[in-house]
Structures are given as C-alpha cells and as structure tokens.
C-alpha cells in the first residue's frame, strides 16, 4: 500500500515536471520522457516508448495524454494513469489561468516570442538526438528502414499535395505490413524446411 502510494506520487512528480517543460505538445515531450523514464528510472524501454507513440497517434485522444496514460498504467494501473495525466496537466492549467486573468497580450509579447523561438531551436535538436537514440532499437534491418522512409515520405507529401493520408491510416498500414511480412517469412521458412 505504502509502496503503491510512493509510486503514484513519483509518477505525479515526474509528469508534473514533464508538463511544465513541454513546449509544443506531444512530440516535444519525448526527449524529456526518454531521459526521465528510460535512462534514469528504467521504467520503460525505448521500444515501449516508440510503441506508445505509434498507438497514441491512432487511438482517440491527443497524443500527449495517451502516452502519459500508457506509462502511468504500465507502472501502477488505472490510478497510475490518472496520476500521470493529472500531473502532466496541472502546471500548464495553472499557467493558462494566470495568463488569461492577468496577462493580456502575453503571447504577443516580444520577449515571449524570442524565448519561444529559442525553445523551438532546442526542441528540434532534442528530438533529433532522441531519434538518433531510438534508431538503435528500432531501425535495425532493411525492412524497418523501408517502412520508415515510406511513412516519412507519405507524411511529408501530405503537406504539399491537395490530398493527404491521415496519419492513423499510415500507422495502421505499417502494422499490417509488419504482419504480412511476418507471414511471408514464416511461409518461406516452412518451404525451406520441406526441401531439406
């Protein structure tokens, strides 16, 4: 019981800090999650984190909350999921309330704009470094590289073409391709076994 409360409090505290330092939404929090949860606490692996993002992209709800819920649940069930989500939302909620009551024109402020431009530079570098880390566990064979480039191209083209493929469709198609490739491999193996 005491152990469980401790875990819940720790989840709340980690996500409180993640929420306070995430600028730009769900993907921007990935580098902080990777440091706090994979490297420092070893609560989840790089693969887990990648999976949570893939699934969080195509299930209802915004990605940041989906990923927080996944991690909270894996650590402490439903209460863990709720602790992580509330922790993640608390600081931003209070900041917005303060801003909407006291600080009109906050987001037009020159200094705020410059600071955000600096933060965006940092977020780009952090995401790049996180991708380089995740690459080791995720892009380790030709099949995964092909999927990576095809999905990336289709997602990128969506910004320039009049039609775009919804991202959840891309994710689901990639999962189906994975299943299909697995089946083909299985069959090949079975055939190879017969000829020997």
């Amino acid at each position: 019981m005491k152990e469980k409360l401790k875990t819940l409090a720790e989840l709340f505290w980690v996500f409180l800090r993640v929420g306070a330092m995430t600028f730009g939404g769900g993907y921007a929090m990935l580098p902080i999650l990777q440091r706090e949860l994979v490297e420092k606490r070893k609560w989840v692996t790089d693969e887990d984190l990648t999976d949570y993002y893939a699934i969080g992209q195509c299930t209802p709800g915004i990605i940041a909350l989906n990923v927080s819920t996944f991690i909270g649940r894996s650590k402490a069930g439903l209460l863990g999921a709720i602790s992580a989500s509330i922790g993640f939302e608390l600081v931003p909620l209070m900041i917005i309330l303060v801003i909407s009551v006291f600080l009109e024109g906050f987001s037009d402020n020159e200094y705020v704009q410059h600071a955000l431009a600096g933060i965006n530079v940092c977020v780009c570098v952090l995401i790049l470094n996180t991708l380089l880390k995740l690459r080791k566990s995720t892009l380790k064979n030709a099949f995964s590289l092909v999927i990576f480039f095809i999905v990336f191209l289709l997602a990128a083209l969506g910004k320039f073409l009049p039609f775009s493929i919804p991202l959840p469709v891309l994710v689901i198609a990639a999962a189906l391709t994975g299943i299909l490739a697995g089946q083909i491999k299985e069959q090949k193996k079975a055939k190879g076994g017969n000829t020997q």
Binding site: Y53, I62, I63, F70, E89, P92, I99, A181
Partner: protein, 187 residues
Amino acid sequence: MTYLLLFYEFFKTGLLAVGGGLATLPFLNDMATTRGWFTVEDVSTMIAVAESTPGAIGVNMATYAGFLTGGVFGSIVSVAALTAPAVITIMLVAKFIDKFKTSPLMQNAFTGLRPASMALIAMAGLGVAIPTFFNTDAMLAGDWSVAFLWKAMLLAVAIFLGQKFLKKIHPTVFILIAAVAGILLKL
C-alpha cells in the same frame, strides 16, 4: 447546466480528435459557432496562448476555452472531460496488448509500427524545424538574403554539441538555456 454541456462537448472532442493537439481545433470552432461560449477570434487567441505556454496544445486550448465559458471550474471540467476518453481507451487498448503480447501476430505488427512511429516523430520534428530555421515567407518571395535564420542555426549547433559532450545535463536545462539565448539573440 453549462458545466454539463461543457463536459459533454470536451468529452466528445477527446473521443473524436485523433492525433496531435491541433486536431481539437475544428471542435473548438464548432463550439464557438453552435454554442456561442466564445468567438471564433477567441479560438485564434487560444492557439497563440496554447502554443506559447508549456503543456500539450490540446489540453491548453481546453483550459482556455473552459475558462472563458465557466471560469476556473469550467477549465477544470473541460480538461477532465478531454482527458477521460484518452484514459479509458488507452486502458482498454493496453489490456488488449498485454493479453496478446507474446502472439507472433502482435509482434510482427510491432515490427511495422515502430519504424512508422519513428517516421512520424521525425516528421513532427521537421514541422517545427522548417519555420524555426528558415524564413519561409522570404523563400516564397524569392528573397534568399534573409531566408536562412543563421542565429537559430548556430544556436542549434551549440545545443547539439552541448548535448553530445555534456550528457549528464538534463534536457530541460537546455530548454531553459535556449529560452534565454532566444531573448539575448533576439531570435
């Protein structure tokens, strides 16, 4: 009554908005026109504020919209309503995944999912990087002399090297340093 309606509207948004926070945008516009809780102009202020404060954009917009509609309690109601569908669906999906974790079918699905997930993360990063390092308006106008935002690029190189050689330093420290650098360099 307003609180119940607010809960209903944001629960619906949480259930039907799939993906990043900006996916909630059409729902907010819809609320502005059908419910009249706030104006469509308010919605663009919401985006500006949501993007310039910490936290997920979707949650931030729900906070602001809830506040305009029903004060502090309104913002708590809308954020709770936005969160509930995410928690419920992920609890169910995670249970399903746990159950079939060892099935080869599920494992094969993940061999496809993981690189796709990486691609979407890379895409999201690129989406931030382009307006951060390039003046796209100047590029489209053919004015190449101001198209490259050199100061931002140099800051990026500095942060990259900092992360490479000072591995112990927490990412959030870099974010704070970058915010200060942004102000000093007038990025």
